[in-house]
């Protein structure tokens, strides 16, 4: 046991390996937020009038809204007037092929392990890379287009597919949904758009990589995925940021629409800079993610591995509107040092015979606070709704906290809802068992944590699972081994 304590007490955290800054000239808006900035962003993007109107409406509503105080996190107030709302890597002209992408930028993405080069074809992942809110390059576009799949940056989509954007943008997360969603709606500068036509199974994983690069900026990207009848897509999202002493704001919105028999699988490995060991700096990650199972037999599945960010505030939700639709949420949230996470999900059962499953694993170490907050709602007409939720928390160290706030609201007597939660630490007997079989304490702890998170890790696509497991180990390094 004392050996274990020693291991726990070691605080030599490995450095955040994504913490460099790329020296790229950026085209920026001055700090501050006003209608003029919203107009500036819209003009920069050469957006049509309706888009500007949409942004302004969101902005005006945002001005009337208050910062939400209910999450179980504490952080200094964000000064919305000191943030630069637009920062784009300077580009001379429109890019026609990947060879024309700024070499500095390409190097950046290579460091991140996402090569924009066609070599990536081998791994079969199409990537849309977003740096400081602006989409840089999308790979495999043509191959996807052959099947009718649209996968491009949001700004491109607004120009080229206005009818789809007008129809779906804001249909799941309305422009005025909440404080940060409204802010995002007003100032989002880019993001990804993905459209899978009827009956098409997307042949490869689609992926977006987000990176905050410039100082003093916030990142506000917007993702929209529309899966038409009978289609399938698996979507990956990853994110990193440089190490800075200041807190940077990331307020994204992700919307998913799944029509009849469609299935969308959305996986996130969130690794924003978490701040240093004293809790200085780091990203404020205030994200609104919501999907709607609009059609019958549709399915939306959220899988997330949350290891980064100083403060996380995120609840990927599913509105189960179509009969027989399925919502899933798998999450591993790791907090270390001074990180705070308030994350969970919402499952809103509206259609008949809908099912949802929630598996949430929280791991807290250092002096961090980790909260699960979830809502399972069964509406009056949601006959035979079924939900199973499981939230387990693991505490590593006596300075951290683990909290659960599950809300369950049932208005239909044919519903069957179950919820379980446990909180514990790694048992001495478990460690002893491993030690006895020749594993040192550090390896034993790593093994046990891996087992603890396995149920969720198994849901991740192959490429991500490997990365996520490494991340898990790095995030907890020093605190457990």
């Amino acid at each position: 046991m004392s050996e274990m304590l020693n291991t726990l007490e070691q605080t030599a955290l490995s450095d955040y390996k994504y913490g460099w800054v790329t020296q790229i000239e950026a085209d920026e808006a001055p700090p501050g937020l006003s209608e003029d900035i919203v107009r500036f962003i819209s003009a920069k993007k050469k957006e049509p009038e309706w888009m500007l109107e949409w942004r302004l409406k969101a902005f005006r509503q945002w001005q009337k809204m208050e910062v939400p105080r209910w999450p179980n996190v504490t952080y200094p107030d964000v000064d919305f007037q000191s943030i630069k709302y637009y920062s784009a890597p300077k580009q001379k002209k429109t890019i026609n092929s990947l060879d024309e992408v700024d070499p500095e930028l390409r190097a950046t993405f290579e460091k991140l392990g996402i090569s924009l080069d066609e070599q990536k074809r081998l791994s079969g992942v199409a990537v849309d890379a977003v740096i400081d809110s602006v989409s840089i390059a999308t790979t495999f576009k043509e191959q996807l287009a052959e099947q009718g799949i649209i996968f491009c940056s949001m700004s491109e989509a607004i120009q080229e597919h206005p009818e789809l954007i007008r129809k779906w943008l804001g249909s799941v997360v309305p422009a005025t949904d909440n404080f940060y969603a409204a802010l995002n709606s007003a100032v989002f500068s880019d993001g990804s758009f993905c459209y899978i036509p009827k009956g098409v199974k997307c042949p490869m994983e689609l992926s977006t990589y987000f990176r905050i690069n410039a100082a003093g900026t916030g990142q506000f990207e917007r993702t929209l995925i529309v899966a038409e009848e009978g289609s399938y897509v698996s979507y990956l999202e990853g994110c990193t940021a440089p190490m800075r002493d200041e807190n940077q704001l990331h307020a994204a919105v992700v919307e998913i629409v799944a029509l009849d028999h469609a299935e969308v699988k959305y996986s996130t490995v969130q690794n924003w800079y978490p701040g240093d060991k004293e809790g200085k700096g780091g990203i404020f990650n205030f994200v609104t993610k919501r999907g709607i199972c609009a059609g019958i037999h549709s399915k939306i599945s959220w899988t997330q591995v949350e290891t980064g960010s100083a403060v996380t505030w995120k609840y990927p939700s599913v509105i189960l509107k179509g009969d027989y639709s399925v919502g899933e949420f798998y999450s591993v949230a790791v907090t270390n040092n001074h990180q705070q996470a308030d994350t969970g999900t919402k499952m809103m059962h509206i259609g008949k015979n809908t099912r949802s499953r929630i598996v949430s694993k929280g791991i807290s170490a250092g002096v961090s606070q980790n909260s699960y907050r979830g809502l399972v709602q069964v509406a009056k007409n949601a006959a035979n709704a079924r939900n199973f939720s499981q939230c387990d928390s693991l505490l590593l160290g006596d300075q951290c906290g683990a909290h659960t706030f599950p809300y369950i609201e049932v208005k239909n007597n044919t519903a069957q809802v179950e919820h379980e939660a446990t909180t514990s630490k790694i048992g001495e007997d478990q460690i002893f068992y491993c030690n006895q079989r020749g594993l040192d304490t550090e390896t034993a702890v790593a093994l046990i944590i891996n087992g603890f998170a396995k149920e969720v890790m198994n849901q991740l696509p192959m490429e991500f699972a490997v990365e996520a497991q490494k991340l898990l180990a790095i995030s907890l390094e020093g605190s457990v081994g």
Partner: protein, 435 residues
């Protein structure tokens, strides 16, 4: 909020409290906080599912000292086993000695008005414990009770004594001529090695609206043993907010059972503050409601010190348009290592219009703990029904049998025999089960 305005008017016009400054300050602070906070709305996280403001809006009288209750009225509501119990009668929130029967000797049990207790040998005790619940319920409702605390009663269960008679407390609201708001307030001190059984029931006379805002604070010393039983079986005009706040300041054991059958809007706050190592708390609840009854159980277990154990089981049977709300909080403070805390909430919905909102909540700041919570919501198990039906038991009967079995797990936790039998009788009647 005309009714509440009147309450404040009444308070202001009342003679300034002449006694000890401590109580006066206390009630003034309560009034100030109430003015600031008002009646909590659904925007208040703790009142999200319970629209208390809607009930309190009607015209209530704060008729604290005027009542036409007679001995016959009291006789009509006595609980089984009263012949051998200490009976405490509160009418419109005020303790009435003339209707009460204290059978235990004064060296085992002592009753004093709070305004007296705050002066004498209990001064320190009252000062440090009265209003302790406000820290856990910093809302307008609790503040309102504080504002009127000077009408309260202090109960001392003496050190090393085991009063052979249980304490039966009747809180009678006389709503025969007009709507009544009452605010009974008690502070109960259970001395070292003492033992006590408390049974509480609210009764409303007449059919006007009645609202009881009751706060009971208990201080339980080393090796003491307390059993708390509450029976709530009123009509739809009667609403209440009941706060039972138990501080276990020494290694002690407290056992609580709350039964709810009928009422308007019922809110129960039950808090256990485990302030000494080795405390043990058991909390059981059964809400078996129908009609438009709204029952809301909020419980808190605050583990301040290590090595404590708490177990909580609340079960609900909800029929017709009734609503059940459950919120169970378990806090484990930094020093409270080796805490074991369990919580479970199980609900059966019997009708299409019944609903349940449940929120089990864990907030844990220590690592060497075992905490779990679970909750389920569903219908009666179809397989069990089938089993019984296949053996020739009619549908109604089978249903009653299963529901009674579901309820029995809680009923069996009542150790006081006459009360257990009484509870079983009224629950069986409700479920259509023949004992």
């Amino acid at each position: 909020m005309s009714g509440l305005k009147e309450i404040i008017q009444e308070k202001i016009s009342r003679e300034p409290f002449a006694g000890n400054g401590v109580l006066k300050d206390f009630s003034e602070k309560g009034m100030e906080l109430f003015r600031e906070q008002g009646i909590p709305t659904v925007k208040h996280e703790e009142w999200k599912y319970t629209r208390i403001a809607a009930v309190l809006n009607s015209d209530f009288n704060y008729a604290a000292n005027t009542s036409s209750v007679t001995k016959a009225d009291v006789d009509a509501v006595r609980l089984p086993g009263h012949e051998t119990a200490n009976e405490l009668v509160f009418i419109n929130g005020i303790y009435h000695a003339e209707f009460s029967n204290i059978r235990s000797s004064s060296d085992a049990l002592e009753l004093l008005p709070l305004s007296e207790a705050v002066k004498g040998e209990y001064k320190k005790l009252v000062e440090s414990n009265l209003g302790h619940s406000a820290g856990y319920h910093p809302d307008g409702i609790n503040a309102l009770s504080n504002a009127f605390a000077y009408d309260g009663l202090f109960i001392e269960v003496k050190k090393n004594k085991v009063p052979e008679h249980p304490l039966y407390c009747y809180y009678i609201n006389d709503a025969r001529s007009s709507s009544v708001l009452s605010q009974p307030r008690t502070l109960i001190h259970v001395g070292v090695n003492a033992q006590v059984v408390l049974v509480e029931e609210e009764i409303t006379l007449g059919s006007s609206d009645s609202f009881i805002n009751r706060v009971s604070e208990l201080v339980v010393e080393e090796n003491a043993n307390v059993q708390l039983y509450k029976i709530q079986n009123e009509d739809v005009h009667s609403s209440c907010v009941k706060t039972t706040h138990v501080r276990q300041v020494g290694k002690s054991k407290v056992h609580s059972v709350t039964l709810t059958l009928n009422g308007g809007m019922i809110r129960n706050n039950l808090n256990f503050i485990l302030e000494a190592p080795g405390c043990e708390s058991h909390m059981y609840g059964l809400y078996c409601v129908k009609g438009t009854t709204h029952v809301d159980n909020h419980t808190i277990v605050d583990n301040v010190k290590p090595h404590c154990f708490s177990n909580e089981l609340y079960k609900g049977i909800i029929d017709e348009q009734a609503t059940g709300v459950f919120n169970g909080k378990i806090f484990v403070r930094k020093d409270a290592q080796k805490t074991n805390a369990y919580q479970s909430n199980k609900n059966v919905l019997l009708s299409e219009n019944a609903s349940v909102n449940t929120k089990p909540q864990l907030e844990i700041f220590a690592d060497d703990v075992k905490c779990s919570h679970g909750c389920t919501i569903g219908r009666l198990d179809e397989e069990s029904m089938f089993y019984l039906r296949a053996r020739g038991i009619g549908e109604q009967e089978a249903r009653a049998l299963l529901l009674h079995a579901f309820a029995a797990e809680i009923l069996n936790q009542i150790e006081c025999k006459p009360i257990r039998e009484y509870a079983d009788k009224i629950i069986s009647e409700r479920l259509g089960f023949e004992l």
